[in-house]
């Protein structure tokens, strides 16, 4: 894009940089605070005396989270979930979005199907009926119970169909002239042009799978089948001291403080984004260079 070196533009640039940097600091500071908490002793954390730097440095919280054998189990479950779930999400979303992005003239039923899809985003049958279906389809206690019921994130479908509509029709028609059908058009023309939106929904799908915990809790019958976030939930629940039985009131606090552990959990939770997002970002930078495709 073209640079404008006027004085007013420079002023704008300075303000813009300052504003955005300030904004991102505002987003990072609490996270740094949480990180500091996760490395501080529980007494200091409980007293609310931890700022942006650990007080009384300790790695106890992480040691506690990592020490159980279920931790490794749960990482493997989550990795499996990501490996199957994210590609399946992307595939199913693409297959739905392409036909729905067509105009009524091309695909007369598209609007009915679009509402059919969006409807599921608005209405859901609730926990018990969904559980019954998952049970009847024999998914209980298997990795597929974490993947199939949520295999179609509707928001991603409509987002993608919206992007697909922005792709110039000429490209498609040119391809059709050359004898390409819908499958070829989708995979040869649409997909290469949709890198930014795929990066976006891929990221969201990844984050979604990584951080989901409730389905693991409900559909898995044994703790060694829990995905990571479900496992983390099970070890850091706030105790309501008033309802503790006598036997537990005594030894409860030798273990670990929920606040430091939960802080450690935040880190493990945001890890994939901290690691993967920078790589995905190059797809946000490019923009579509139509010229080269047009040829």
């Amino acid at each position: 894009m073209v640079h404008d070196s006027s004085w007013s533009n420079k002023l704008f640039q300075v303000c813009n940089y300052s504003f955005l940097i300030l904004l991102s600091l505002l987003c990072v500071v609490p996270l740094v605070h949480v990180l500091a908490m996760s490395f501080s002793s529980s007494t200091e954390v409980e007293a609310g005396l931890v700022g942006l730097w650990p007080v009384d440095f300790t790695t106890d919280a992480y040691a506690f989270v990592l020490r159980k054998s279920e931790f490794l189990d749960s990482i493997l479950v989550t990795l499996e979930r990501l490996a199957i779930g994210v590609p399946l999400n992307l595939l199913l979303v693409t297959l739905l979005a392409y036909p729905l992005s067509k105009e009524v003239k091309v695909f007369p039923l598209r609007t009915y199907f679009a509402w059919f899809v969006v409807f599921t985003m608005l209405f859901n049958g609730g926990l018990i009926p969904t559980y019954m279906v998952v049970k009847e389809t024999k998914l209980l206690d298997s990795i597929w119970s974490l993947i199939l019921p949520g295999a179609i994130p509707v928001f991603h479908v409509v987002l993608l169909l919206n992007f697909f509509r922005g792709i110039p029709k000429e490209l498609e028609e040119a391809a059709h002239m050359d004898g390409a059908g819908h499958w070829v058009t989708l995979f040869r023309i649409y997909l290469p042009l949709s890198a930014p939106v795929f990066a976006t929904i891929g990221l969201f799908a990844m984050v979604g799978h990584w951080n989901a915990w409730f389905d693991g809790m409900i559909y898995m019958n044994h703790p060694d089948h829990y995905p990571l976030q479900t496992y983390l939930r099970t070890i850091i629940i706030d105790q309501d001291l008033t309802v503790l039985g006598a036997e537990d009131a005594i030894r409860q606090f030798e273990n670990i403080n929920p606040r430091t552990t939960r802080a450690a959990q935040v880190f493990l939770g945001s890890l994939p984004v901290l690691l993967a997002y920078p790589f995905l970002q190059k797809y946000f930078m490019k923009g579509i260079v139509l010229g080269s495709v047009k040829g």
């Binding site: 007293a47 018990i128 559980y131 019958n221 503790l244 039985g245």
Partner: protein, 554 residues
């Protein structure tokens, strides 16, 4: 390519580690099918010898559901499905335990409701009072009357009577016992007033004997810079937003006015039961709290605080209503932060010359039930006998209670501790401290005894145990409450009535909002409106239910 290698490596190393800890249960694959549960149990249709501790020959399989206690740890190689209890059940009772499903405590209710809906109940499971009622009414539970009579060991029967038989009564429908109650140490929940003794001494204040003393002390703590840091940063009386809570709430304060929110008490001698929430004295307690709040004697931000712990640890709090277990949390942390902090408990102060009674409730929080279709309903009683014997009987073995840092007693799916365990421990430790005959102590008690000795020898980390189980420990107050009959027991201990289930939520909500706002400065007259509304919106109906229930208990 690299990424794949990484993953293989991770998998491989994980498997090695898991193999070492043997948590890598090879049978996890077929765990999802509950259908293979019967197996051996079909053959043992004949009731065994009626021996409470008798072994099943051939062994039977019992299916259960389990809520996984939080923060549970296991000795190397053990798991919730394979541990000291499951092995002993198998070897000593001939019972193979199989969990249909396991989930953490927050989702247990949800999963159980799902299981109930889909009609896939395990043989033995635990239920909430409401679930017990619904299951019993839907005739889905086994009648345990005979089982209890025939199989309860003498020791177990004793434990079930520690609450005066309230638990068993509450589980009895039309004369039939439908569940075993989880009898818990309700008396340990009695409130006491924790005060910074060093501040009291700094400011030369008397002990808090009356509510006026409490107000006086709170005023001095809030205004006279008791910590001597020249800052106006101390809280007189701390509370969290749950003002009806016993620990870190204001329940003890209300009790000081002989007001018992949400407990059912006879109106006059032997009169009908009424709810303590709407008694006229409650208004006086609220007036006093409002006055204190206005003057800045109560934490001005209590509405946003979930508890008093953080401020206590940070050294800002002079006084709060708590329980006997507070030395473990947050007082120990408070002492770690500031070794000079001296915390002393006092009986809750009274508004007049009558001693104040902390309120407690013996209503069991959960019940153990047996599926109507289970082959061996008596297995529940046997598991119960076993737990009680191994923890409290002649053959007691401490490894069934604790194994190093591991809370082994939590591995048992069926448990009961009785009401007086902690006070009993305290009494015995006191006796032994005087006599020196440590052989009388069981390993648990010996552990506390040793900790107290270590504390006396200068190990400050044992302060909390010493401050609970020591001669002057917080349990001494519980003992005093018990021996002098200074506790008010909730007069209602039945299962929730239909009206309660439906109306209690809105009523409690209204109470919390009205009371909080009055403390913050709303007109006291709102209390009268509240009483009228409370009655109108279901309170009256509930009162009627409670008294009808009471009539059946006479």
């Amino acid at each position: 390519m690299k990424r794949r290698n990484m993953r293989t490596l991770l998998m491989a190393s994980a498997c090695v580690i898991l193999a070492l800890t043997s948590a890598c249960s090879g049978n996890s694959g077929e765990a999802g099918s509950p259908s293979d549960r019967t197996g051996a149990s079909n053959e043992t249709k004949v009731p065994n010898n009626v021996d409470p501790a008798g072994k099943y020959e051939p062994p039977i399989t019992v299916t259960m559901a389990r809520d996984m206690p939080d923060n549970l740890t296991f000795p190397s190689g053990d798991s919730i499905e394979n541990n000291i209890f499951t092995r002993s059940y198998r070897d000593e009772l001939g019972i193979n335990l199989k969990y249909d499903w396991i989930t953490d405590s927050t989702q247990y209710n949800e999963k159980l409701n799902i299981a109930i809906t889909s009609g896939e109940l395990p043989d033995i499971f635990n239920v909430s009072p409401v679930q017990l009622k619904e299951l019993a009414e839907a005739d889905q539970l086994a009648d345990l009357t005979e089982v209890y009579e025939k199989y309860a060991s003498p020791l177990a029967a004793e434990k079930f009577k520690e609450d005066g038989g309230i638990g068993l009564k509450s589980a009895t429908f039309d004369g039939k016992l439908m569940a075993l109650p989880y009898v818990t140490a309700a008396i340990d929940g009695a409130t006491m007033l924790w005060v910074r003794k060093d501040w009291l001494d700094n400011l030369k204040l008397p002990e808090p004997k009356t509510i006026d003393d409490v107000v006086e002390i709170a005023r001095a703590f809030a205004t006279k810079d008791p910590d001597g840091n020249n800052k106006n940063d101390t809280i007189g009386l701390a509370t969290g937003q749950k003002i009806f809570g016993g620990g870190g709430g204001l329940l003890g304060f209300f009790n000081g006015f002989h007001v018992y929110p949400n407990a059912w008490i006879p109106e006059g001698e032997g009169g009908p039961l009424v709810n303590g929430l709407i008694q006229p004295e409650t208004k006086q307690a609220l007036a006093k709290l409002q006055e204190m709040y206005k003057e800045g004697l109560i934490d001005s931000e209590f509405t946003t605080k979930t508890g008093v712990g953080p401020d206590v640890i940070a050294g800002k709090v002079g006084m709060f209503y708590g329980t006997m277990s507070n030395p473990l949390n947050p007082l120990l942390q408070s002492k770690e932060k500031n070794p000079k902090a001296e915390w002393q408990y006092y009986p809750i102060a009274s508004v007049d010359d009558k001693p104040a009674k902390p309120q407690i409730s013996y209503t069991p929080p959960t019940y153990y039930v047996v599926n109507k279709n289970a082959e061996n309903p008596e297995a529940l009683m046997k598991l119960m006998n076993f737990f009680i014997e191994k923890n409290f009987g002649e053959t007691a073995d401490y490894t069934y209670m604790y194994d190093g840092p591991h809370r082994t007693h939590q591995y048992a799916p069926v448990r009961n501790f009785g009401v007086t365990k902690n006070v009993d421990n305290w009494r015995l430790i006191k006796e032994v401290t005087a006599s020196g005959d440590v052989s009388k102590l069981n390993p648990e008690q010996k552990g506390y005894y040793d900790d107290i000795k270590k504390f006396e020898g200068g190990d400050l980390s044992k302060w909390s145990i010493a401050d609970i189980f020591g001669q002057e420990g917080s349990l001494s107050l519980i003992d005093k409450y018990v021996s002098n009959d200074m506790m008010l027991v909730d007069g209602f201990y039945g299962l929730p009535t239909a009206n309660m289930v439906e109306k209690n939520g809105p009523l409690n909500d209204m109470a919390l909002e009205t009371f909080t706002k009055i403390i913050l400065g709303d007109s006291l007259d709102n209390f009268d409106k509240f009483v009228a509304n409370w009655n109108k919106l279901g309170g009256e109906a509930i009162t009627k239910d409670v008294n009808e229930w009471a009539a059946t208990q006479k």
